[in-house]
Subunit: 373 residues, 2 copies
């Protein structure tokens, strides 16, 4: 039986802090990416919330953050306990294979038997004990040589998440929630999602991966050997004066590709993936409909408000208002409305259209209004 | 036969320029009342549009404007041809009986056989020749001692306007569109409005009154003799040094009452009202749904935009945007939306709820946010 309060042996957390979160524009911007925002009204950023969640897994000195150079000062300000040797700065964003892979390679070089767990900087989780217990079970399973993902037991047939098709239970270690992974599936339509949830065989893919660092990199190398060779070459000199020259030489060669395609999906095909079914609340806060849901827990007919000192007059309206401009905001007779009021951009849409914000961002790019991105 | 281009004998226009237009908040404010706004995209205010429409009736020197003292400079700036002797400033707003009645009394004192026509400063009319012709026919009819209102042949069963129930035709003068007035009726529900339009007996009440000044005041005196006595007392000294002292003594005694209740409705009961059915386009621009309709003539699925240099990205949205803040405004998937974006207040509602803006203004008053009114 895994206990929840104890520090996990040989464990190291990796927090890839990247991605603007285009569907949260105009709240999210290039210089205010989603992970630096307070989307829950907690008073601190999603990154800080993530830090608070993971540092107890193995201690605050065993958390590595990977982020862009331009976010260095913001990240350091928000995470005062993050040591310099635990901050990996990317020259240019290269998606999650490079970000997580480089961190794993650095940690592998420093500590060959390390078990790493990667946790996105911009997800929301509620239920710290259940989270800790799931990670501990995943770490124990990972120590047997598998790559383990934590899947979330679905509470509704969401079409906004990818799913994990779980297989046979794995009971050898005494963990009660471990399963083989048959496959990962992309965001489904509602009918498919409903069948997934009814079958009891599917979990939400929360993008958390726990494995030995060497196992992760070896699986990645089967998909892209050059990528992993370059990552390990940088890692070997990371803590030496040769770091900058090596990075400058190799960084541009790294492919921009999500870890789902270099590790998770091919490893599942090889039978090398396992999953732990978890029961904590999780959301990737992908759009304003998600933010609204998080803010108005259990009160779907409320008007959710994000913004300190917001001045709002609502008459028979529900949805979400993000109030950042300091203006008085009046709403009359609006259902499921989304209003994002910033000093230089106003966005109005509905929860149903929340996913389309990304396409408007593309439109903004093409329209020459890129100063507001 | 009445000709349209000729100046109308003994005619004088009165433009009562009052009323904030609460249902157009936050575009309309105490210091930016509806009549000072450009709601048609014409590049000038409704007041200026009204001036341009009426000055040709009898010449620019025969147009009198009644407005509040606080609007003096704005009105004079917008109407450079308005002479001092044609500007009547109210100490305090006292509604249309006092405003129109005082102007009529001043004009009656100066020119006993004058025929006056009062035209609101904040309505929209399209069809200058038809307008001129209707006023000329009304003036000819008014010279026989009646009070004449110009009613608009309805194009749809509007529930936003009051109606005139027309009676028998009056053909003696050769006018083709003159009728007795049976009664005035308040804004109906849709079923009633539909039956009105189908009957062919009802006209929209556009609040235009044409009559001899003495007839207007005599009819008003039958309803409120003290009011008319006070108006005539002020009028008698208006062009003398005693004006201010007399106004100061009498103004507070004037009742706040619409001319509909002191003249139109009781005169109709007495059989003293006539109407001319007119066929020009008319709208009182009562709310943002009206503004939207005016701006997107014949294109109901368009997004109407009011605001110079507006920066708007619309994805599958229609309705109206009033852009005054200079911000980029993005709309996604909104039907019949109303967005009014001003530097200090944002209003979001739908056309269907456009009439409720007034109640939000009341809410603002009670909430202590009166600096935005």
């Amino acid at each position: 039986m895994v206990t929840s309060a104890r520090s996990i042996d040989r464990f190291y957390s990796i927090i890839p802090a990247g991605g603007v979160g285009s569907r949260l524009w105009p709240l999210s911007r290039a210089d205010a990416p989603k992970f630096l925002l307070d989307l829950t009204g907690s008073g601190q950023s999603l990154l800080s919330d993530t830090w608070d969640r993971v540092y107890s897994l193995a201690g605050p000195e065993r958390v590595m953050v990977v982020t862009g150079r331009s976010h260095r000062s913001a990240v350091c300000e928000q995470l005062p306990d993050l040591g310099d040797h635990n901050l990996v700065l990317e020259s240019q964003p290269k998606d999650s294979s490079a970000a997580i892979g480089l961190a794993a390679a650095i940690l592998e070089h420093r500590e060959p038997d390390v078990i790493v767990g990667s946790f996105a900087a911009d997800h929301v989780i509620r239920g710290q004990l259940l989270f800790h217990r799931a990670v501990a079970e995943a770490a124990a399973l990972a120590d047997t040589g598998r790559i383990v993902t934590i899947g979330i037991a679905p509470t509704e047939p969401s079409v906004g998440f990818g799913y994990i098709h779980a297989g046979e239970p794995i009971e050898s270690l005494g963990g009660r929630d471990s399963y083989e992974v048959r496959s990962f599936v992309e965001k489904p339509d509602l009918e498919t999602a409903t069948s997934y949830v009814e079958s009891g065989e599917y979990l939400w893919n929360a993008g958390m991966f726990i494995s030995r660092a060497d196992v992760l990199l070896d699986q990645m190398a089967k998909s892209d050997p050059e990528l992993v060779a370059n990552l390990r070459e940088m890692a070997a000199v990371w803590d030496t004066p040769e770091r900058d020259a090596t990075v400058d030489r190799l960084w541009d060669k790294l492919p921009k590709v999500a870890i789902d395609y270099t590790v998770a999906e091919p490893a599942a095909e090889r039978g090398a993936m396992a999953c732990v079914a978890a029961h904590f609340e999780w959301d990737d806060v992908g759009d304003f409909a998600s933010v609204s849901k998080l803010l108005s827990r259990g009160r779907p007919n409320d008007l959710a408000v994000l913004g300190q000192g917001a001045r709002i007059l609502s008459d028979a309206s529900n949805g979400i208002v993000v109030a950042q401009s300091g203006r008085l905001i009046s709403l009359i007779g609006l259902q499921d409305i989304v209003v994002v009021d910033t000093p230089d951009v106003l966005l109005v849409t509905t929860k149903e259209n929340a996913q389309k914000v990304k396409s408007v961002v593309d439109l903004v790019k093409r329209s020459g209004e890129s100063t507001v991105l």
